[in-house]
């Protein structure tokens, strides 16, 4: 698990998707829990910080849903390699993790000359 | 929330004490520094080493700072023997800065030279007064 957390995630096109903000554990009866997926999102790492901060993050996401980034989940079977970075087999561009990046690029940054 | 307010109070109280409690010797030292600054401004302006805008701005700033010193010096803070001399010196400094400023405006090199000398003398006076205050 600690091999995974906080590492940079690259998609199939070697594009930067974000960082592993949290992991999803699958609880199996009679066996050790196993990491079934990992997640990317502000809400996710807020949860790791402190309960109260996490609640603010969720409330923030609910009040301004457009501003929140949503949670992007990658199952462990989507993972190609784990090294200094984590490579996944999917395309990161349509995921919520890059929603803000894409939106800003189209609607704000590109409008400014010289971008 | 109440605890927040108390903490803020604890922090600001010493800050207020520190800012309010300016001892007169430090204030006189500040005035002396501005006398020296005025002298230097007059000297450098006279030879054209520094710009006119800069000199005027600095002299304006100097007057404001010296007036602040004058206002903060309360007679009760000063020992009796200096109670008249210190404010008088600070007051004279204010007028010297003012006449330096007008000399700069007129471009009057002679007046600038005189102003530098006045400021120099005042600087010495203030230095002596400061030493006297620190002894008390």
């Amino acid at each position: 698990m600690h091999d995974l957390l906080d590492k940079v995630v690259l998609d199939e096109g070697r594009r930067n998707v974000g960082r592993v903000d949290g992991v999803v554990l699958e609880l199996r009866p009679g066996a050790a829990p196993v990491v079934s997926a990992f997640e990317i999102g502000g809400r996710v790492w807020a949860r790791r910080l402190h309960g109260r901060i996490a609640r603010w993050a969720v409330a923030f996401g609910r009040r301004w849903p457009a501003l929140g980034n949503g949670v992007t989940r990658f199952a462990m079977r989507d993972v190609r390699t784990i090294g200094i970075t984590v490579s996944v087999k999917r395309d990161g561009r349509p995921t919520p993790a890059l929603a803000w990046e894409n939106w800003l690029r189209e609607h704000v940054i590109s409008r400014i000359p010289g971008a | 929330m109440k605890r927040c307010r108390r903490v803020i109070g604890w922090i600001t109280l010493p800050l207020l004490i520190a800012c309010g409690g300016n001892d007169p010797s430090a204030q006189v030292e500040r005035a002396g520094s501005w006398a020296a600054t005025t002298r230097e401004l007059a000297i450098e302006r006279r030879v054209g080493a520094i710009g006119r805008a800069y000199t005027s701005d600095m002299l304006d700033a100097g007057r404001r700072e010296v007036q602040k010193v004058a206002q903060s010096l309360k007679p009760s803070d000063l020992p009796e023997t200096l109670r008249a001399r210190v404010p008088a010196a600070v007051g004279r400094l204010d007028s010297v800065i003012a006449s330096t400023a007008s000399a700069v405006q007129r471009g009057d090199a002679v007046a600038l030279g005189a102003a530098a000398a006045d400021a120099n003398a005042l600087g010495d006076t203030l230095r002596i007064l400061r030493a006297a205050l620190r002894v008390k």
Partner: protein, 405 residues
């Protein structure tokens, strides 16, 4: 041949980038009040910075991770949030004071108040970041920053008593005005060891694609470059000690520093002081803005690269745009530049443990840096530095109250 060129460039950029609003005015204040007595703090700060720069460069060259990356990856978000928040807050105030520095230089040159210059300066900085790439930003402002060599020329021209200068390099306690002495000592440390400097450096190393064969260049750049920078700060202090102290001029307003060089170098001195102040602070403006954006982007996993076009790192570009313009607004609002600079130096010094101590862990982590981890000497020095930063942290609040104006 390329190695020598790289080295020269590295040293040159380090010299040009060292002086900024804080290091200049703290050195002037120190020299004007205490003569050479505070030279040891400049030496201490420079040594500390040298250490941190070399290590952050080594980290980047060996692992390909910047300090921001490494802080998040090695310590997790729970810890990372602390250097992130403190780093951004403190750097923002320093950034505002740098914009103030450029604006003041323009005010002193034109007579137009610095408040009017703040937004144009911020826009100019933004423009350079938007259109330029890392090389242009770093090398451009640093080469121009060589104008600061005027301080060395002036200091030499004043023929200081080198014996007494040397004596100032040994730590002594003050014979008057204790709180103010230690206040300035701490501020100088904060001005010398600005965290943005060594964090920026590691990002630069990654942008330039450093590898393990660049390690000796890194070491030389760190040692020689930072030494030169320290010499520059020391020169400013020496000039203040020989020009301001005997005349009894103390610094109440930042602009009084304009009188530093005219007695030595006449009108040329005045012009070159303004140029030095303006250029040095402008360079710092762009560097700090980038450093803040790097820290946030790297920590949260966004694309970040000054070499790439803004379109390719939308969040990163937006971050630095908002940051620099907001800092401009702060100065346009008319905050006293001297008070802000002094305060932000103090704050920087107090926040040092948060980034220095983790470097200790990072540079000894065999899994991370392997055989390039710290030798005992670096560790000993870093350890001493860490203790100094903790002492500084605990003394910062009382000093700000007692010694600050």
């Amino acid at each position: 041949m390329k190695r020598i060129l790289d080295l020269t460039l590295g040293i040159v950029t380090s010299i040009g980038g060292f002086l900024e609003a804080g290091s200049i005015i703290t050195a002037v204040q120190a020299g004007a009040v205490f003569g050479y007595k505070l030279l040891w703090t400049i030496a201490l700060g420079t040594l500390g910075l040298m250490l941190l720069v070399e290590q952050s460069g080594r980290l980047a060259a060996v692992t390909g991770r910047t300090v921001g990356d490494a802080l998040r990856e090695r310590f997790g978000i729970n810890f990372f949030i602390i250097p992130l928040v403190t780093g951004l807050l403190v750097s923002f105030l320093v950034l505002a004071s740098e914009i103030g520095g450029v604006s003041l230089a323009l005010q002193m040159a034109t007579g137009i108040s610095f408040q009017w210059w703040a937004m144009p300066v911020a826009f100019a900085g933004w423009f350079l970041l938007w259109k330029g790439n890392f090389g242009v930003v770093e090398k451009g402002s640093s080469l121009l920053g060589l104008v600061t060599i005027v301080f060395i020329v002036a200091a030499l021209k004043l023929h200081p008593d080198w014996g007494r200068v040397g004596a100032g390099l040994l730590p002594t306690s003050p014979d008057h005005d204790g709180p103010r002495y230690w206040y300035l000592a701490v501020s100088i440390i904060g001005a010398s060891i600005s965290p943005y400097l060594y964090m920026f450096y590691s990002s630069g190393a990654v942008e330039d694609g450093w590898g393990t064969d660049d390690l000796s260049t890194n070491k030389a750049t760190a040692v020689i470059g930072m030494s030169f920078g320290g010499v520059l700060s020391a020169a400013v202090l020496i000039i203040a000690a020989l020009v301001f102290l005997p005349r009894g001029i103390q610094v109440d307003r930042y602009e009084q520093a304009g009188l530093l060089l005219p007695p030595v170098l006449g009108h040329t001195g005045f012009v070159l002081f303004l140029a030095s102040l303006g250029i040095a602070c402008f360079g710092a403006t762009t560097e700090i803005t980038l450093a803040m954006a790097y820290l946030l982007a790297q920590g949260l996993g966004w694309d970040w690269s000054e070499n790439a076009k803004p379109k390719q790192n939308a969040r990163f570009s937006l971050m630095y745009t908002v940051t620099i313009l907001l800092a401009g607004v702060v100065m346009a609002a008319g905050i006293d530049p001297l008070k802000l600079t002094n305060f932000s130096m103090m704050l920087t010094a107090a926040s040092l443990p948060v980034t220095v101590i983790p470097m200790f862990v990072l540079m000894n982590d065999e899994a991370l840096v392997g055989e390039h981890r710290n030798r005992w000497f670096s560790n000993a020095a870093l350890g001493v530095l860490s203790i100094v930063t903790i002492v500084v942290l605990f003394s910062a609040v009382p000093l700000q109250i007692l010694g600050g104006s």
